[in-house]
């Protein structure tokens, strides 16, 4: 099964994979080869890529779409980053400022957008930390 991850700026990933777990808007969803044609909205979260005989890879996506068609999975991501591309300090700072905006809720704060940036930062931090402390067991796919 071919997996392609594209953003408006570049092609992020294009490889043969054996499975994908994506953060769908209605819950995590796993896609294995020969899945039926599907189109879904993604929410910010981590995208898990499974490959035969390899450790799972994780990418942080900040929303977008996922399309399955003819044994091909295409992720139209708003942004997609591998763990090594993520600036952890920046994600943390973004998380903090967004949390502040939510807690001291001023009149002009857009709650929805603040929550969205929290989710995005969370996704990035999760992927970064997973790389630093890889799970000892149950990591295989």
């Amino acid at each position: 099964m071919k997996l392609e991850i594209v953003t408006a700026e570049r092609l992020v990933y294009s490889e043969e994979v054996s499975g994908v777990v994506a953060p769908g808007i209605e819950g995590e969803l796993g896609i294995l080869p020969h899945h039926a044609p599907l189109l879904t909205i993604l929410k910010p979260g981590e995208l898990r890529i499974m490959k035969q005989g390899q450790e799972d890879a994780y990418l942080a996506v900040s929303g977008g779409f996922l399309e399955v068609m003819a044994n091909r999975v295409v992720v139209l991501a708003d942004t997609a980053e591998r763990a090594e591309e993520i600036d952890e300090a920046r994600a943390q700072a973004a998380m903090k400022s967004a949390q502040e905006r939510v807690t001291h809720r001023a009149a002009d704060v857009d709650l929805e957008r603040a929550m969205a940036s929290i989710q995005r930062a969370q996704a990035r931090l999760k992927v970064v930390r997973r790389r630093r402390h890889p799970p000892q067991a149950g990591g295989g796919g």
Partner: protein, 285 residues
């Protein structure tokens, strides 16, 4: 009559100018290539989003289900997003762009308000007394989606809130290195006719197709603005490259003719001195 010294000074100054224009030409060439690469890098996303949108449009929908960004209204007010360079020295590009935009404004029935991207367009719109609603300047040479999302949000918000009934974008389309064509394209309402009719794949939509469409359309608009921006940047740099090449050529031509003039003046001076000496010797005999 100019003497040799002033001409030599003049040649030196022209030569310095030529060095600068040559450097600017080379910088513009490399920036143009980068902008073109970005355009190519964004192509898979654009292609895919068009395909998905075409499939969504093929879904049967009730009239009242038509998404707000697709719904056509009577046009009482138009928003023009005018994309221009921040800097000049790019030949006729800026004036061509501004002329095309002005023509659009004068030719449209409904009042037009302008959102400018780039200093040159802002200055023109302010000078000609247009209704300037918002101004964006200082776009980076390699913009990301994040850089243009504010422009897209403004357009979408104004359209959905009913402040404007049509949004168009004007920018310089990059045809090739020598040709940049000013174009005015409709952004909102999204025109389904523009979408290539793909065969309906029959996806399972999750959630329902209408909500997917609602999430997709704003991104489609964003992508169109992003694309226009990249085209505009490629056009700016290619126009500047050509302008600077012409300037360098002209400077070199000027140096040649000045050098010729300098030699002529010097020879004349020498001849005159010789005549003086010969005359002096003749007078003594």
């Amino acid at each position: 009559m100019a003497n040799v010294r002033t001409i030599r000074r003049r040649i030196r100054s022209v030569r310095n100018t030529a060095k600068i224009t040559k450097a600017m030409q080379m910088i513009a060439a490399s920036k143009m290539r980068r902008a073109q690469l970005s355009t190519i890098a964004g192509r898979p996303y654009a292609q895919k989003i068009l395909e998905v949108l075409a499939d969504l449009m093929a879904q049967p929908a009730e009239a009242e289900d038509i998404h707000p960004l697709l719904r056509k209204r009577e046009v009482k007010s138009i928003q023009l997003i005018h994309i221009t360079p921040d800097r000049g020295l790019c030949g006729g590009l800026v004036s061509n762009l501004n002329r095309a935009a002005a023509q659009f404004v004068l030719g449209s029935q409904a009042p037009v308000r302008v959102v400018t991207v780039g200093k040159k367009g802002r200055d023109f719109m302010v000078r000609t007394g247009r209704d300037v609603k918002a101004v964006f300047t200082g776009m980076p040479d390699r913009p990301g989606i994040a850089d243009i999302s504010a422009i897209a949000r403004l357009a979408i918000d104004d359209y959905t809130s009913g402040q404007v009934d049509r949004v168009v974008v004007s920018y310089a389309e990059f045809v090739n290195t020598a040709v940049q064509r000013p174009v005015v394209e409709q952004l909102l309402p999204v025109q389904p006719a523009e979408l290539r009719a793909g065969e309906a794949v029959g996806y399972i939509y999750e959630p329902a197709s209408l909500r997917v469409l609602g999430a997709l359309l704003p991104r489609f608009v964003e992508m169109q603005i992003y694309h226009a921006m990249l085209e505009a940047i490629a056009s700016e740099h290619s126009a500047r490259m050509v302008a600077m090449r012409n300037a360098t050529d002209n400077a070199n031509e000027l140096i040649d003719s000045l050098t010729l003039l300098m030699n002529k003046v010097r020879q004349e001076a020498i001849t005159k001195e010789l005549l003086d000496i010969v005359g002096g010797v003749a007078a003594l005999e």
